[in-house]
């Protein structure tokens, strides 16, 4: 295999996207070609440097404006949830998507005990606070972690799993809240933790009456495809909707060569 061909495949090699035969060919060439080794090293250095760059956080006012526009298509929007092939179970109506601010809490979590009918776990602790909405305060989701220093993006090797926690806080008692966790194509719900949701893109939890104290919901997701993926949590509180997201970085398998 010539150097030009090998160099074109180095990025895919680092992403674990080469088939076993091609990967073996490239790896064998690298072992004996100092020039291609240098090129591979340069790629990794640039990739490592780029990894230092923080991910710009989505401004809440931008999300609210976009959600308003996406919901205001000038057409009658259904109030009920619609079933779609893409999401497998439900998709929020545009009336719900016409939302307020973006907040989310993601947290590397420990296994939990109680299991909701949809397969997610529910943990209760602490007081609730509500977040502002167009009509009256709604729900606020906040970032937290076990050591209070946990931050996004989360990292998980391909095939591995990571815990995700959505923390809801309300300033006033709230009757009936739904949390829709939407996964992109590079992530899937853990089959072990959520056996009824493993083949779905959306998992919906229903929090019954919320009193004082934060309420958190924990999920486990599996990284299925290398890349950066945004997890969205849509918190529906009556006519109010909070949209929040966080990034999960699915990395190549640990036993392959190091890469971004």
């Amino acid at each position: 295999m010539c150097c030009d061909t090998v160099r074109e495949l180095l990025d895919e090699l680092d992403r674990g996207r080469l088939g076993p035969f091609l990967e073996a060919e490239v790896t064998t060439h690298l072992a004996s070609c100092p020039s291609c080794q240098q090129e591979h090293k340069r790629i990794r250095e640039v990739v490592s440097a780029l990894a230092l760059m923080p991910a710009p956080a989505l401004p809440p006012d931008l999300t609210a404006e976009i959600a308003r526009r996406a919901g205001s298509t000038g057409r009658a929007v259904p109030q009920a949830f619609a079933r779609t092939r893409r999401f497998g179970t439900t998709l929020l109506s545009h009336a719900v998507v016409a939302a307020a601010a973006v907040l989310i809490a993601l947290h590397l979590s420990a296994p939990v005990d109680k299991t909701e009918p949809d397969g997610a776990t529910q943990v209760e602790s602490g007081p609730l606070v509500t977040a502002p909405s167009e009509s009256e305060p709604g729900i606020v989701a906040t970032v937290s972690g076990t050591d209070e220093m946990a931050s996004t993006p989360l990292h998980v090797p391909r095939g591995g799993e990571v815990g995700v926690k959505v923390v809801l806080e309300a300033k006033r008692p709230v009757k009936g809240t739904k949390v829709h966790l939407v996964l992109p194509k590079g992530l899937a719900f853990s089959r072990k933790a959520h056996p009824n949701a493993a083949d779905r893109n959306v998992l919906t939890l229903r929090a019954r009456d919320l009193g004082k104290g934060p309420r958190s919901f924990e999920f486990r997701v599996k990284g299925t495809k290398v890349g950066k993926w945004d997890v969205l949590a849509l918190v529906e509180d009556g006519d109010n909707l909070s949209v929040a997201g966080a990034t999960v970085v699915v990395e190549p398998d640990q036993n392959k060569e190091e890469s971004l």
């Binding site: 895919e12 780029l50 230092l52 760059m53 710009p56 404006e65 057409r75 997201g245």
Partner: protein, 176 residues
Amino acid sequence: MDRKDTVANGIIEHLPRLYRYAVRLCGSKDLAQDAVQDAVSRALEHSDHYDPARPLLPWLLTLVRHSVVDRSRAFDPIRHADDVDSCAPSILAQGGDPAEVVANAEQTARVEAALARLPIEQRSAVVLFYLEGLTLDEIASAEGVPVGTIKSRLHRGREAMAAFLLGTHPENDEAT
């Protein structure tokens, strides 16, 4: 579900990525916010132009890039490379050794400045591939060029960034 619903739902799903792409493309959060809003308006207005048989994300990225370019015509991202500092995190707020904090902030600023110095075609390819994790096919679709062109842009972008970071790029002599 009609096309407008598909586009609207897709915009919500991909919004974080569209914003990140815009910020890294132009180096300005304010300009990126305007560009994303403009791109969303165009997407909703021209949703009938979207082919549902094709992935939505590349189309949305194309609209964002066009909006950034349109708004950047009077804004030279190379001369205004210092604007990338507005994207740097408040590392001091996270605690840690001050010397290390300053070093990390400086390193981040250098990387962002190196990225900002790339021609927009190379910058777009580097951002979409290494920071957003898109595949070569997805990027080629978003940019409207062959995969081979994307590979070439990635290669030249990497070379230029490496040279900028090592201080060996000729333009380093003109750095402010």
